[in-house]
Amino acid sequence: MTDATSNLPLDRARESESGPIRKFLNATELDTRMLGMVGALLIIWIGLHILSGGLFLTSRNLWNLSVQSSSVAIMATGMVLVIVTRNIDLSVGSVQGFIGMVMGVAQAEFLPRVLGIPLGSPSMWIIALVSGLVVGLLIGALQGFLIAYLAIPAFIVTLGGLLVWRGAAWWVTSGRTVAPLDPTFQLMGGGPAGSIGATWSWVVAIIACLAVVFMLVNGRRQRKRFKFPQRPIWAETFLGVVYCGVILGAVSIANAYPWPVGIVRRYAEANNLTVPEGGLFIAHGIAVPVLIAIAIGIIMTFISMRTRFGRYVFAIGGNPEAAELAGIKTRWVTMKIFMIMGLLAAVSAAVSSARQNAATNVMGTLDELLVIAAAVIGGTSLAGGSGTIVGAMLGALLMQSLQSGMVLLGLDTPLQNIVVGAVLVIAVWLDTLYRKRF
């Protein structure tokens, strides 16, 4: 109880000696690890841009990248909670495939034929999605129950799940692909129709910027309420400008990507518009799956940071025994985590199958590994106790950037796998170094 004092003057001394970078980091309270990830992402993007001869950093490629990342990013947010509590879920890819089949069969075959609801009726997509969510919740509950209450290791339960649900996905239609899906349901997959257009994208951007400003102001007010040290005004302004700049920049990129000519022509014909000379520019705007992923990212961040459940998840990860002794129902918390994971696999299944406009029994194969890799690259420690939702989503974006970049470069799939595998190992090694130093 004595050495608390000795650190205080020491820290101040160190602070005054340190350079402008450290001062900047202290003032803005930015997470250096997160900055490192953003830096790595930028380096990869610029590198791929140069290597591909200017094909990577185009509005078209970045827009596609955002859509392709959504499915894995959605599941990665849940995987963070799973890994934080020292568990693992190897079954998410198979669960995704199985739920995709269930939703596909529900809307393309079961509802039209048995209940007489035609494809394209307004309630169709809701029924299909809800049935998928329910199945996801039940699968998660079952696996969570086995792990939490019967104390079977998560690795084994979900390894079993990997096989069981993939087999079950095949069983639903004996391997037959189900298509086409409901038109409204398809909107969840992106594409020209599944994007919200320029105007709404700007509306979303402005709301997001207002939210950033509100959060910064509210943070200041909270700190004032309890007389905690404040960030300097210039640091707050800097953060606000950067965050809003990123939001507006991302939206302007999404708005710079126009609909393909053929679709514009059909759209013009259907709406009795005349296509002017040089073509009609209709922007995609933000894709619906990206909006879904962002919304889920925000919800999951809120759950992990601001709710009692989130606090317990991290406490269990830090010291399961202490959490139990503190009176936390650790088993129930664990089961809930797997239920959330099941729900997220269902959302991801909706996004993926909607994007393909078909449900296939191989959908999501090997996705569990991408999801785990995204979470781990995003700073989730396999030892448990630490990890962030934003990091995992950035991790998903990073993995997808590498993969699409290599496709642009014309690399063969085996070589792509080698690179992705190596990057995963190197990323975790760098993280280990970082954790030792700080």
């Binding site: 004595t2 608390a4 905690f228 991290f314 025994e321 002794l325 503190a326 630490s386």
Partner: protein, 262 residues
């Protein structure tokens, strides 16, 4: 006089076995308000196990627990806390990856009206209680894994006294501490005792606790050797109880006392 008062805690004929080993065998112990009872014995004598039954960490096989004279059902740590029983574990039982305030309120978080965590309020409360316990403690933003042994100990103690405990269990409270910090814990024990809180002190080292305790209770091989008021016995006699299981005349013998032939 003492017999007429209702004990705060009365554990009767408690037994628990792990596999074939009877870790606690027919042990009885009681505690009165404002009293410090030292629970002594070798490593593996069953002290920690007995006390973990009281704090809800283990479920007893048989026996009963009375709190304020009424039979209590304690089958998990939440139940124990409901009866005002707080425990400072030997391992401290802190979640290393979260900060001091999160640890203090673990399982009993302060919430905002919207049902979200009120971290500001929790940190403010934490600053208050830590200020009383360890005024120089300033590292509220860091995960407790970065704190020193003494600082971690004060977080664990603060957690136990934050919620108005009536019964406090301290399992080897000074094991990780230096002499000065040990003295501080001693002061704290006296202060809590004056507030009418009953305290179980668990130790394998008699010197740590003999001066603080009103009574000692010695365990050996899972059984109670005997209970004695500290004024009635000497340290050497208590050592004899710990090592040999020999019950001196000043003590009340328990089932674990060595049978002396004639």
């Amino acid at each position: 006089m003492e017999q007429l008062r209702i004990p705060l805690i009365d554990m009767k004929n408690i037994s628990i076995a792990f596999g074939g080993i009877r870790a606690v065998d027919d042990a009885s112990i009681d505690l009165f308000p404002g009293e410090v009872v030292a629970l002594l014995g070798h490593n593996g004598a069953g002290k920690s196990t007995l006390i973990k039954i009281l704090s809800g960490a283990y479920k007893r096989d048989s026996g009963s627990i009375y709190v304020n004279g009424e039979e209590a059902s304690i089958s998990n740590p939440r139940d124990a806390k409901k009866y005002g029983i707080e425990t400072i574990y030997q391992t401290l039982a802190l979640a290393d990856n979260v900060d001091a305030a999160a640890n203090l309120f673990l399982g009993r978080e302060i919430m905002t009206p919207f049902g979200t965590l009120d971290d500001g309020a929790m940190e403010a409360e934490a600053r208050k209680v830590m200020g009383r316990l360890n005024p120089r403690f300033q590292r509220f933003k860091e995960p407790v894994v970065k704190l020193s042994g003494g600082q971690r100990q004060s977080v664990a103690i603060a957690r136990a006294i934050l919620f108005n405990a009536r019964i406090l269990i301290m399992d080897e409270p000074t094991a990780a501490l230096g002499p000065q910090e040990t003295a501080q814990v001693g002061e704290l024990v006296k202060q809590l005792k004056a507030d009418g809180i009953g305290i179980f002190l668990i130790s394998h080292d008699i010197h740590d606790v003999f001066d603080l305790a009103d009574r000692v209770c010695v365990m050996k091989n899972g059984q109670v050797v005997g209970t004695a008021r500290t004024q009635d016995v000497t340290k050497d006699e208590v050592l004899g109880m710990i090592i040999l299981g020999k019950c001196p005349p000043g003590a009340v013998a328990g089932p674990g006392a060595m049978r002396v032939a004639a």
